[in-house]
């Protein structure tokens, strides 16, 4: 009886004393991987950093860098990618990820310098770098290379989209500000209609015409005071219509630039900036 009692008590103490070492390296990594796959990157990075203090692991370093990139902290992402060693299996990919981080920070001379280095490096990712570099040329003010040379690194399905972007970049559908001003000077509102601002164009035409008519008819009926008031208001609307047409052309051109840039950026985002993807959460 006593032995049975001891047995039951021992069994219950084994069952109820759940000992989990939360701070063991393996458990820290398990939890960190869970957070990473749950897209809780801030916490995953903290846990991975804790793990790296105990164990050196290049895949964890790479995941930290991916985490920083995912939360758009490109500066830290770049630092982490650059710390991946030559002997690591993630070394080549970290190079193209660094280029992506530079692109997302700012497309400047250091970005293009690094892109050139990678393009001529004859490594597995050199073509990825070439594609990203050429696509980025669409977003800066410099002249583009010849179309044939521009499209060299791209695959067939990408060539069509990039060819359209190339043509748009070289021949953007701008509206001339001078032409818009002159059109509105001749026919009030015409400059706005030229920039597809139909509502404003018709309003400008009606208002300017209305005040001109009121001024004329009041002069005709010998009401000089009212006539001069309407003349002044009409002149104001006429001048405003010309100014507004020039501004409308400027706004139209700015919108063309904005939509073009957003289109290129969206294309690159969809292609993941030509960076190979790793699914760590399979």
């Amino acid at each position: 009886m006593l032995k049975l009692f001891f047995f039951i008590t021992l069994l219950s103490s084994l069952i109820y004393s759940q000992q989990i070492d939360f701070n063991s390296p393996s458990n820290i990594k398990l939890f960190a991987d869970y957070l990473f796959c749950d897209k809780d990157y801030f916490r995953a990075i903290d846990e991975y950093e804790k793990y790296l203090q105990i164990v050196e692991d290049d895949s964890v370093q790479f995941k930290i860098a991916i985490g920083y990139s995912a939360i758009n902290d490109q500066s830290n992402a770049y630092k982490k990618f650059s710390s991946i060693k030559l002997t690591s299996s993630f070394y080549e990919q970290s190079k193209i990820e660094m280029l992506k981080s530079l692109y997302l920070q700012n497309i400047d001379s250091s970005y293009f310098l690094y892109a050139d280095i990678l393009t001529h490096s004859q490594s597995p990712i050199s073509n990825n770098a070439y594609r990203l570099k050429n696509s980025s040329l669409l977003l800066i003010k410099n002249d583009l290379p010849e179309k044939e040379n521009f499209l060299i690194p791209f695959e067939n399905e990408e060539k069509k989209s990039l060819s359209n972007f190339y043509d748009l970049k070289n021949n953007p559908p701008y509206k001339s500000e001078v032409r818009a001003g002159i059109l509105s000077a001749i026919i009030p509102g015409a400059g706005k209609i030229y920039t597809y601002d139909y509502g404003d164009g018709i309003t400008a035409f009606i208002l300017t015409g209305l005040f001109a008519y009121l001024a004329y008819t009041n002069f005709e009926h010998n009401h000089p005071t009212r006539a001069w008031i309407f003349t002044a208001i009409g002149a104001g609307f006429y001048a405003g219509n010309i100014y507004g047409s020039v501004a409308s052309a400027q706004i139209f051109n700015a919108r063309v630039n904005f939509e073009f840039n957003e289109g290129v950026k969206l294309f690159l985002e969809e292609k993941n900036y030509f960076v190979p993807t790793n699914d760590f959460c399979k």
Binding site: T9, S17, F22, F31, L207
Partner: protein, 279 residues
């Protein structure tokens, strides 16, 4: 005797290990709770997520989800808070736990301004016979829901019913009385251009509105009197009508704007000076 001593010693060891072998999950929960009480919400959520990951039997699912929800709520991350409070409702093991999670969920929805959802949750609780004894508390939060929906009159009715909260009832009544009638401002401007703006205290705008309408009204009528029918139609249609309809839109706009200022002032008081329980 030796045999008895040995058995007693063994028994004591086993009892001690059983009593003091506190689950590390329990310890982890207490640690996370301690961080929460210290208002270290980010760390608290990390430790609670760690607890959840290792809690394979979901023993702490209710407590951890509730505390994570509260942490996110205090950090003003209401979307995440609602998600975890809903999970807490699912894992609730008793009616009391369910009620706590559900009312917190309603309060978070009030703060998030998804007041329709808050109303649905509170109505569910009101209609649930298990929570008849909590009717006062549910109605209290219903009152707050009306405050955040900018319906101060209904909020007053709720807080005034059976003197639920006299301070809040007085505040809601005051706000309701101070607010301008948007319809009155709009329709009075139909009759007298500029009157709606005058009613809301925008005297300069009122004078300008009245002035423009009188000017173009005079010019239109004068044109008709002088038999310049086409002139009269043009001035009436493009000038007088434009300023007349603009006056009505303005009157309505100012009334809405002033009402927003009054509501905001009341909400500011509730946020910083009100001592009672808040969402």
């Amino acid at each position: 005797m030796t045999f008895v001593n040995k058995n007693i010693f063994l028994l004591l060891v086993l009892i001690t290990s059983n009593v003091f072998a506190q689950s590390t999950l329990q310890q982890q929960y207490e640690y996370a709770n301690h961080l929460f009480n210290q208002e270290k919400y980010y760390d608290a959520v990390t430790e609670l997520k760690r607890l959840q990951y290792f809690d394979e039997e979901n023993k702490f699912s209710y407590q951890s989800n509730l505390l994570i929800g509260k942490s996110y709520k205090f950090g003003a991350k209401f979307d995440e808070a609602v998600k975890y409070l809903t999970l807490a409702e699912i894992y609730a093991k008793s009616e009391e736990e369910y009620f706590v999670a559900k009312t917190l969920n309603a309060r978070t929805n009030i703060l998030r301004r998804t007041t329709k959802r808050a109303e649905r949750i509170l109505n569910d609780l009101l209609n649930d016979p298990r929570f008849r004894s909590n009717e006062k508390e549910i109605k209290y939060w219903m009152g707050w829901k009306y405050i955040f929906s900018d319906d101060w009159e209904k909020a007053y009715e709720i807080f005034n019913e059976n003197s639920l909260d006299t301070a809040l009832a007085s505040l809601c009544k005051l706000v309701d009385q101070e607010k301008y009638s948007v319809n009155f401002a709009k329709y009075s401007s139909y009759l007298i251009p500029g009157f709606g703006q005058f009613y809301t205290g925008e005297y300069i705008n009122s004078a300008l509105s009245l002035g423009w309408n009188i000017l173009f009204g005079y010019l239109t009528i004068n044109a008709f009197v002088e038999d310049r029918i086409f002139d009269a139609i043009i001035i009436g249609n493009f000038l007088w009508l434009r300023f007349y309809s603009g006056n009505i839109q303005n009157a309505e706009k100012y009334a809405v704007q002033k009402n927003l200022e009054i509501s905001d002032k009341a909400l500011e008081y509730l946020q910083y000076s009100f001592k009672g329980e808040r969402p």
